[in-house]
């Protein structure tokens, strides 16, 4: 069932890529313009997606014959948990400018460690030390301008 849906998603993505590619400007001196490769890729997505969907169309028949496609509670929980790192990155992107990289990273690590049931004191200690090391390595040693945020008060 998942493969069938992924096939449909690829077909839709292919159609969008193809349509967007048709809007790229063409130059009269060039026989093949900037739209050629994206159009081919879009076409490839549609063909590949179609093959994938067709080869898994049996899953749909199963649903038609009384089988249901439902995510189990455990599976749903695991899927949601797997989104945690992605959410942590979004949190960093949104807060690092005013909180500073050091605090944002420490918070991200602390929460992620708690999510896997690390003892809170250990999680706090490791998060702070690791954030300090990462910040020192990249800001001081590699001279990457990581946002300082609240930490700029201390200069």
């Amino acid at each position: 069932m998942k493969d069938f849906l992924l096939g449909l998603a690829f077909m839709a993505a292919g159609a969008i890529v193809y349509l967007v590619a048709q809007q790229f400007p063409t130059m009269p001196s060039l026989q093949y313009g900037p739209s050629l490769f994206p159009s081919l890729i879009g076409g490839g997505f549609m063909i590949g997606g179609l093959i994938l969907a067709i080869s898994h169309v049996g899953a749909l028949k199963g649903i038609g014959h009384g089988m249901t496609w439902r995510m189990e509670r455990e599976q749903l929980r695991n899927t949601l948990l797997s989104l945690l790192p992605a959410l942590a990155i979004v949190f960093y992107i949104l807060t690092s400018e005013w909180l500073g990289a050091l605090l944002s990273l420490a918070l991200v690590m602390f929460v992620l460690m708690l999510a896997r049931r690390t003892p809170p004191l250990l999680a706090l200690g490791v998060s702070l030390v690791a954030a300090l090391i990462v910040d020192l390595l990249f800001s001081r040693y590699l001279l990457i301008p990581l946002p300082e945020g609240l930490m700029s008060i201390w200069g």
């Binding site: 790192p85 602390f110 460690m113």
Partner: protein, 502 residues
């Protein structure tokens, strides 16, 4: 000779040797912790190598990848969980041996075979690449177009599992490679008005997303902590190795040569080299029945193959700029950043850089022996490292590493988006190597096609007008139709044997 001496001077200095030692320890650590792959280690290393001189930067990558591939055997042996995908082929075999109390003996054999395989692949790299480079000097845009297409085609047909999924994965990478200003017309493509995307998608955040963030998401989506070490060891690391090598020296040579060859094929990395060598070893063994019950013969074949594959993958990467596996795909980007443009001219430039690279390969494989020995003796430290503490730290390295490439938050978004897409695809058995190859080779493919069209006034037949170009084109077409030929051949062979129904 001067260039060789310059190469020696570039490697044998305090900074490079320190980097090699550090990278070896880092490689052992990453390889030995289940869930952290060699490619992930290299992807995380790139932002740091960005600030190094070319020789230590390349040394760090070579050493880390070689060490991580060996160290992947450590948790495989003790826990039955391969540390890296390259150890998966023979994990059952090594774990069975560990259960018999022969863990250290197994890992000692693994270590020596890995070192031998790595050195064998390096010798091939040293002796074959310069000769191939002389041929490659005659190549023009027509040949490079076919070469890129050959690499992309191989990545689909060599991949394990559904070819349709490999094809779609490749297209994802190719699509990413089209983002940015078009080379010929200067028209922006898929930039969505974001200035940071005008120069295209930087491949390092994509790599970090696909190989590190994807793994992190997999970890949080599972409950497996994998911390028990049930096997006990009563044996010594190297005491039985001479006996095994004397008995299975043919397997060692066969595994190393097969691994080098498979490694050199684009899209096929150390993991596929190990699987194929293990299968070959089993099919040719006199003790086929002993496989799967803890038989050292299978380990000799596969563990030499995965390390020789790592070295073999560098041959097309250096000579043609076509990566042999995901790690060399990253390396090609690093070489460009360091001004060492991969391609035949890298062998002609002089200055000792290419010799330095060869020397680094030898050192990386030789240093494997002492550091690997220490790693085997202290295996528990590595495999008991709690991943619930390690993974959040790795995530922070991912964020800061992606940011550090261009000092822009856009790259962190790119890492997040590509990592999330890779997670969905990988969970549904889409291979990731074709996507990476698509991203790296997409520009080469399109630019050489466009240049060729300009040269030939749009005549598509010109791709077959030069002898080497025509041969490469024929090879590509043959690869495309090979599955059909095989199917027809099997049907033809199978027809007389098939039972006839009245």
């Amino acid at each position: 000779m001067d260039a060789f001496l310059q190469g020696l001077a570039l490697v044998f200095n305090f900074q490079t040797l320190l980097v090699i030692a550090g990278a070896a320890i880092f490689g052992v650590f990453v390889g030995a912790v289940p869930g952290l792959t060699a490619t992930m280690a290299v992807a995380l290393l790139v932002p740091i190598t960005f600030y190094m001189d070319p020789t230590p930067a390349i040394a760090a990558i070579v050493t880390t990848s070689a060490m991580a591939i060996f160290a992947g055997d450590i948790p495989g042996t003790y826990l039955n969980i391969p540390g890296t995908p390259a150890s998966a082929a023979y994990v059952g075999e090594s774990h069975q041996l560990a259960r018999q109390g022969r863990a250290r003996e197994t890992l000692g054999t693994n270590l020596v075979c890995s070192m031998f395989g790595g050195l064998f692949g390096t010798l091939v790299l040293v002796f074959v690449s310069p000769s191939l480079a002389e041929v490659a000097l005659k190549f023009s845009s027509f040949e490079y177009f076919w070469l890129a297409l050959l690499g992309l085609s191989c990545s689909i047909f060599i991949s394990i599992g559904s070819k349709t999924k490999a094809f779609l994965s490749l297209l994802v990478g190719l699509l990413l490679s089209t983002v940015g200003l078009d080379m010929m017309s200067g028209a922006p493509r898929f930039t969505f008005g974001i200035p940071d995307l005008m120069a295209g998608v930087n491949f390092i955040p994509v790599m970090i997303g696909m190989f590190a963030l994807n793994e992190l998401m997999m970890f949080y989506g599972s409950r497996n902590e994998g911390r028990n070490v049930p096997a006990v060891h009563k044996d010594e690391v190297f005491s039985s190795v001479p006996k095994h090598l004397k008995r299975y020296w043919r397997n060692l040579l066969r595994g190393s040569s097969t691994g080098t060859l498979i490694g050199a094929l684009p899209g096929a990395g150390a993991d596929i080299a190990a699987w194929i060598s293990y299968a070959m070893g089993k099919s040719r063994s006199k003790n086929r029945d002993a496989y799967g019950t803890g038989h050292i013969e299978g380990i000799v074949d596969a563990s030499s193959a995965n390390n020789s594959g790592i070295s073999g993958a560098w041959v097309p990467a250096l000579v043609f700029g076509i990566p042999g596996d995901s790690i060399t795909a990253i390396v090609i980007g690093v070489l460009y950043m360091k001004g060492m443009n991969p391609g035949p001219t890298i062998f002609m430039d002089g200055g000792g850089l290419i010799y330095a690279l060869f020397i680094v390969f030898f050192i990386a494989n030789l240093i494997m022996l002492p550091i690997g020995y220490i790693a085997i003796r202290s295996a528990k430290v590595f495999i008991l490292t709690p991943r619930k503490i390690l993974m959040p730290i790795i995530l922070c390295f991912c964020i800061v590493g992606a940011f550090a490439i261009n000092n822009t938050i856009t790259d962190v978004w790119i890492m997040l988006i590509t990592g999330s897409v890779a997670f969905i695809l990988a969970r549904n058995d889409f291979p990731m190597a074709p996507a990476i190859l698509g991203l790296v080779l997409g520009g080469t493919l399109e630019n050489n096609f466009m240049s060729s069209m300009l040269k030939s006034n749009g005549d598509l037949l010109s791709f077959f007008s030069r002898p080497i170009s025509a041969s490469l084109g024929a090879m590509v077409i043959l690869i495309w139709f090979l599955p059909l030929f095989i199917r027809l051949y099997r049907r033809y062979r199978g027809a007389p044997q098939s039972p006839r129904t009245p």
